[in-house]
């Protein structure tokens, strides 16, 4: 049998890495179990001529399509937005696009300010030092002075504007709308031994240069140097409890498929907004017949994705296309609630530089824009390298019917029930998306783009997995308390995107990691009374 560890972390992604690193200075015995493996930069698609094609095979964003041994299937048939993720050391940060905004102060107070959903039990000011620490550990590039945020200082200069960014900047200035170079988790200069970005332009399926801050190259090396053990290819099946209703460890399958038990004093869940509720719901016992930490009945409920309304068009001159990190700017012009609109809350715009030649052909073929036959070449040459686009990242409000449950039939390679996702777009989201589409068309017109297309919602756009084990002070309305501890099981913590109370209208990873650092810090402050 494995020796008991002080802290068992499950999942080595964005949040698991951050919490492991922060807890390491306690000198406790810390172990992380991760179902996937370490990535090799030489395996990333940008090393080969099939770099774009691999987004449809072993680097597909959908785990159902990718179907690597580390992946588990997800039944998302009943959702207009499909779940995307990555399973390995680094988790979904291996495949994220590294757009790295913080949530805004108002995002933590939506009930007080706008009368919807619930306030968070933490606020921006409390998280502020953890945002800064996370941005230093991650290595974030950006520019101070954005009027859409309280003052902050990204540690590296921003990514260049490039041709595409400058075109959008001019368009936004023409309209008098806010824009700013995005905070991006990409090194623009040498940073802590990491090489700067050389514009491979295909950041999503892994950065061969090591410029994109996936946690396998940021937090994990530091955590391991500080004594944390990371055991890969270990898939956890369930969290066990003892006769006192405390978590006692986890049952997992090791790299050889052998069932093992790992005893632990404290268990920290970091499997993301789909993986964590899946495991909790699969951890059924006499004490917890409805799944672990689920006395509120909210485990798996309130799933939020951020519906993406994407609008794109084509300009006359070739722009940056795939030859730079794909996202360059954001706009918070429509972020805060405006009572004159027909929806509450708001959205950010993220601006894309363009896409590569294969992707252009595949997308335009699918949209019917690119003909087959003689005219194919002429039309394609008007498209390739000329696409620019922007997406409205719409705040998704929590609704209990949007949820993760266990699929009664589908199982992963170890026979563990797969998650099933049921999700519908709310009327508030639909109105917000329409607003975003209309404004985006104005931006594209000002940028001189024509031949405009819309993808709304982006089908394979379930990259932000939030809300399925929400934080709160009231145990009947939340799964974990204000510092991430389960209300029901006093040695069980959750640190991943599941604990979001609301989603905000920006990409969440920066906030997920700041929260993980905050929870780790809260645990360290209370070590003597952790289970009281």
């Amino acid at each position: 049998m494995n020796e008991t560890v002080d802290v068992l972390i499950i999942g080595a992604g964005a949040s698991g890495a951050a919490v492991a690193w922060s807890l390491a200075d306690t000198r406790m015995r810390i172990l992380c179990l991760e179902q996937g493996d370490w990535m090799k930069p030489t395996d990333y698609p940008t090393n080969g001529r099939d770099w774009e094609a691999r987004l449809y095979s072993d680097f597909a964003t959908s785990p159902n399509r990718r179907a690597r041994p580390a992946d588990y299937p997800i039944n998302d048939d009943n959702s207009p937005i499909k779940v995307v993720n990555f399973n390995g050391v680094g988790g979904s940060t291996i495949m994220y696009t590294a757009h790295y905004p913080r949530l805004h102060p108002s995002d933590f107070r939506v009930r007080t300010l706008d009368g919807v959903a619930d306030d968070w039990p933490v606020d921006y000011a409390t998280l502020e030092p953890f945002f800064a620490e996370n941005e230093r550990m991650t290595g974030v590039s950006g520019l101070a002075g954005d009027p859409a945020y309280p003052p902050k200082q990204p540690p590296m200069p921003p990514l260049p504007l490039g041709k595409s960014g400058a075109r959008f900047a001019n368009a936004m200035n023409q309209l008098g709308w806010h824009w700013w170079p995005s905070d991006t988790a990409v090194a623009t200069v040498e940073y802590e031994g990491r090489a700067p970005c050389i514009n491979l332009g295909h950041c999503t399926p892994g950065c061969a240069q090591g410029a994109k801050a996936s946690t396998d190259i940021t937090y994990w090396p530091a955590a391991i140097r500080a004594g944390v053990e990371l055991r890969t290819r270990c898939r956890v099946r369930e969290i066990t409890v003892n006769e006192h209703g405390m978590a006692s460890g986890a049952i997992y399958y090791d790299a050889d498929g052998v069932e093992k038990f790992q005893p632990a004093e404290v268990v920290v869940m970091a499997c993301n907004g789909v993986g964590t509720p899946r495991l909790l719901l699969n951890s059924v016992s006499g004490c917890f017949p409805g799944g672990l930490a689920n006395s509120s009945g909210l485990v798996g409920k309130n799933l939020m994705f951020h519906p993406y309304a994407q609008v794109f068009g084509y300009v006359e001159e070739p722009l940056d296309s795939n030859r730079a990190p794909p996202l360059c700017l954001w706009s918070m012009e429509f972020y805060e609630t405006d009572p004159s609109r027909d929806f509450v809350r708001g959205y950010a715009f993220q601006f894309g530089r363009g896409i590569g030649p294969v992707t252009e052909a595949i997308f335009s073929d699918a949209d019917g824009r690119l003909p087959w036959g003689k005219d194919h070449h002429r039309v394609y040459r008007k498209l390739v390298g000329r696409r620019i686009g922007l997406s409205a990242i719409c705040e998704d409000l929590p609704e209990e019917h949007n949820r993760v449950t266990l699929d009664p039939v589908l199982k992963d390679g170890h026979g563990i029930p797969a998650p099933k996702v049921d999700y519908t777009l709310s009327s508030n989201s639909l109105r917000m998306m329409d607003h975003g589409i209309a404004r985006a068309k104005e931006v594209l017109a000002a940028a001189g783009a024509t031949n405009v297309g819309v993808h709304s919602p982006i089908l394979n756009g379930g990259w932000h997995l939030l809300g399925t084990a929400r934080m709160g002070k009231d145990p009947s309305r939340s799964v974990v308390n204000e510092w991430g501890r389960s209300h029901d099981v006093k040695n069980l913590f959750i640190v991943d995107g599941s604990i979001f109370v609301t989603s905000g209208g920006v990409n969440p990873t920066c906030t997920i990691q700041a929260l993980a650092l905050y929870i780790a810090d809260s645990m360290k402050q209370r070590l003597a009374t952790l289970f009281d």
Partner: protein
């Protein structure tokens, strides 16, 4: 034929696939590019079917039934009508067939060069990106604070 049974397709399926690939992206003297039925490109298509094999097979079978017989054996107008109807249907088969052809066509050296691009993987050379004119930010810098204070 050199690709017989390659990629798990039968000789008849290979013939149909090559035929539809050439219809999708024909050779062009105007643009000095081969078609997707070019021997090297077609070999790449067949060897790269991977996860799309099942859908591509179903696509070929659908094309043949729409054409009323083995797709490659039909006259041009029948094939074109069948191909148009097939595209119109949409769905996974259509997407897989197009993707199988286009992902290989647009990585062929000759084709990539014809687009004015370098036929190479992005790593390790990367690309250069112009810095751009940061004075464009001046009007935004001058804006008052936009975030809401949260009590």
């Amino acid at each position: 034929m050199e690709n017989d049974n390659a990629g798990g397709l039968s000789a008849a399926e290979l013939k149909d696939l090559r035929c539809v690939a050439g219809m999708m992206v024909p050779a062009s003297t105007e643009y000095a590019v081969p078609g997707a039925d070019d021997a090297a490109i077609f070999a790449d298509i067949v060897n790269s079917l991977g996860r799309d094999l099942g859908d591509v097979r179903r696509a070929l079978s659908t094309l043949s039934s729409l054409a009323g017989g083995a797709f490659a054996e039909q006259d041009v107008s029948r094939r074109e009508t069948a191909a148009a109807a097939f595209r119109e249907r949409g769905g996974a088969e259509v997407a897989a067939l197009s993707r199988a052809v286009l992902q290989c066509y647009y990585r062929d050296d000759r084709v990539v060069r014809s687009l004015g691009l370098e036929p190479r993987p992005p790593f390790p050379k990367g690309h250069t990106l112009e810095q751009g004119d940061w004075s464009l930010l001046d009007p935004v810098r001058a804006r008052p604070k936009m975030w809401r204070d949260a009590p």
